[in-house]
């Protein structure tokens, strides 16, 4: 190669305690290239980005910028070289306006900055009102603000950490157009993702990480998604073909014109939600988080009481006025999206976490806890659901997201529920565990359970569900037949373009 790489990592390693997060990583990023870093959760992608952005320092190894060795002690060192980063969880201030947010990082008069924001927006398709308050912006607009804030520092390398995980399909298109324009403008881009199709569409080079090591350097355009996945998880992809559902049986959950005012200024008001869920079927609710998903889940689980008893019906009974315990007695089970704090108590052992929802399984005797039953139940759950943990005494808070999710789901499934609500089943869960979780849910369906899944992952919903709804701004779309609808149509509902 005639000219040195813009960024080169040579044998970079980083260890946290006993965990080898990155091991002898070599990486080269060239100007004008969109370079993918591909890997499952826990493969070491985030650590690697922290090393490049100066948040952490490598234990051994060297980092070169334009052929010169550099030491990045803090993010401002990386920024000074020309490295910009767009975080997965945005670091914007919601109560400030766009231009105020930008001015916290970039010197200059507000009026000049507003003009620059508008100019960059026109140039790269990142239009956003500089004077809008951030809390009023959509997720896509917030991401544009983050990118603009980075671009104003004139970076030569832009790092994007899972940028599409929060976006509806239309915004993903738009983001890709922006990134291609930046690439044509001579920018190098590091694109971190676990979504194979996106990487194949956008990137010209991919480094695959597994267990902290680089396991492959490929041109993603020349590989299909299946072979990329194999590089990523290190084995054959599990077969995702499932048996077709049998015709559904009787109705088990019904929402009748469910409306509920928002509880706070940042909440969502739900309006006139109708939904039917029958035995032996999985119904999915798509949509971006924050459009009423949490409110709806709380109303179905009983954490929030509905305004009329008849707005929520479980197993044919009006339960809108009943609490979670009473609804669970009817055969309802719930896996919430927050694993720590709602699904499990972080400071308590797995065994005690079992007790929280499975106490009716003979775990109590005259008000006293029968520890042996509690432990036996927990051990059975750990084995049956492949939870990787030392045992029933392990603290819930010390487990990885995927393992804890398998435990919580297992605990609820072992109650043999008739109706189940599962919220964001595979958030932050690696591909292997996610596949296992989906398989379990489909098995439950085949045994006659009625399952409602709320998820942001459209692929997941299309894989499991026979009917789909979309929740947007507190309104639920009519039921769409999963076999007949398309991701594009779902996407139009997600941004409110169709009703």
């Amino acid at each position: 190669m005639s000219q040195p790489a813009l960024l080169r990592l040579a044998k970079v390693s980083k260890r946290y305690g006993t965990v080898q997060a990155n091991k002898e990583i070599d990486l080269e990023v060239h100007t004008g290239s969109i370079h993918a870093v591909l890997g499952e959760n826990g493969a070491g992608k985030s650590t690697l980005m922290k090393l490049i952005y100066g948040v952490e320092q490598p234990d051994v190894g060297h980092i070169y910028w334009n052929g010169q060795e550099v030491h990045l002690a803090r993010p401002s060192d990386a920024q000074a070289l020309g490295i910009g980063m767009v975080f997965q969880h945005f670091s914007l201030f919601e109560t400030l306006s766009v231009v105020q947010n930008v001015s916290l990082m970039i010197p200059g008069k507000p009026a000049d900055l507003a003009q620059k924001i508008t100019d960059l927006g026109d140039q790269f398709g990142l239009s956003v009102d500089p004077h809008a308050m951030v809390h009023r912006l959509s997720v896509g607009e917030r991401q544009r603000v983050e990118i603009i804030r980075c671009l104003l520092l004139n970076p030569k390398l832009l790092i994007l950490d899972e940028p599409t995980s929060v976006l509806p399909p239309q915004s993903v298109r738009r983001l890709f157009e922006t990134l291609r324009k930046l690439q044509a403008d001579g920018m190098a881009i590091l694109f971190i993702s676990h979504k194979l199709d996106e990487i194949r569409e956008l990137c010209d080079t991919a480094s695959v990480l597994r267990g902290g090591e680089v396991t492959g350097r490929v041109d993603p355009r020349e590989h299909d998604a299946r072979s990329l996945a194999q590089l990523m998880i290190g084995r054959e992809m599990p077969n995702v073909a499932h048996a077709a559902p049998r015709p559904p049986g009787e109705e088990r959950l019904r929402l009748n014109a469910l409306s509920h005012p928002r509880a706070s200024r940042f909440g969502t008001t739900l309006e006139g939600i109708d939904l039917k869920l029958r035995s032996g079927e999985i119904v999915g609710i798509a949509g971006i988080s924050g459009n009423g998903q949490q409110e709806l889940a709380a109303l179905i689980s009983g954490e929030t009481r509905a305004q009329e008893p008849g707005m929520v019906e479980i197993m044919g009974k009006k339960v809108g006025h009943l609490g979670p315990m009473a609804r669970r007695k009817l055969g309802f089970a719930f896996v919430p999206e927050e694993r720590l704090g709602r699904g499990a108590v972080p400071e308590m052992s797995l065994a005690d976490n079992s007790l929280l929802t499975a106490h009716s399984r003979n775990m109590l005797s005259r008000g006293f806890i029968r520890r042996s039953v509690e432990r036996a139940f927990t051990r059975e759950c750990i084995e049956a659901f492949d939870v990787r943990t030392p045992g029933p005494d392990a603290e819930a808070g010390a487990m990885s997201g995927g393992n804890l999710q398998k435990f919580i789901l297992g605990r609820e499934i072992m109650l043999n529920p008739d109706v189940m609500l599962v919220s964001q089943p595979t958030w932050g869960v690696d591909i292997g565990a996610a596949t296992a979780i989906r398989k379990r849910l489909l098995d439950m369906r085949d045994q006659g359970c009625a399952i409602l899944v709320i998820s942001e992952e459209m692929d997941e919903l299309f894989e499991m569900c026979s009917k789909l709804h979309v929740l947007h701004n507190g309104h639920l779309s009519p039921a769409l037949d999963a076999a007949e609808t398309t991701p594009q149509e779902i996407g139009r509902y997600m941004i409110g373009a169709a009703t």
Partner: protein, 291 residues
Amino acid sequence: MSGLEFLLAGTLAASLPLLLAALGEMVVEKTGLLNLGLEGMMAIGAAIAFICVFHTGSHTLGFAAAALISTVVAMFFAILVIGVKANEVAAGLAIGVLGLGLSALFGKSYESRTISGLPKIDIPGLSDIPLIGPTLLTQDIVVWLAVLGSIALWWVLNRTKLGLIIAAVGENADAARSIGYPVVLIRLCAVAFGGAMCGLAGAYASTVYTPLWADGMIAGRGWIALALVVFGTWQTGRVAFGALLFGILSLGELTAQAMGVGLPSQVLSSLPYLVTILMLVVISRRRSGLF
């Protein structure tokens, strides 16, 4: 002097301790902390200022000493909360009790002693205006400085980069840290500012408003100031308006007693506190979006 003239002349002075303490606490809360020790910081400031003025006769020295001692007490709070990450409610209450205790200790041998207050300034032209001239517009120097200071604080918080940084730190400290702002230092400065303002508030109460030392003379004004920050929804203008309102209420109580309103004085004295509770209830209900 009629009741109206009495109100016009006295409201600003009666509001001043509330105003200073509330504005200081507002800045603390804007950076995302909560210091419940206002009452104690005001009390120790009041005691030190009184002792200082009693011995030296200099109000300037009294105010400076009060600001200093209350800042020191506030720094205890900062060390506990920012340094060793203690619970801020417990730490705030603790330094509040500490301040009250120290003020009683230092002030013991000065009980019921008096000093001279500050003269009211006649500003030529202003004080010739009928009715409000000799009353509302004839105030001591501290009142005028406080009015100017409040305007300056509003300008800093709403029109400068520093104000923006304070708001950013309070809203999302992690994000502020990630873009390179010294969050700890900013919070430390805010707590110090809050302490100094409480010291000045206490000094005004004990050496100008009622230039006499009595144990417990702050009499809950620290708690009212705390409530005013919420009442004013963390905005300088509204906090100042709230302070004026309570100033009028506390004077109105005196006027009513003087005019012989047929209510027990205890009922009248409790009015400002009852109104505080009512306002807090109204505001917290509105903030949760119920009306």
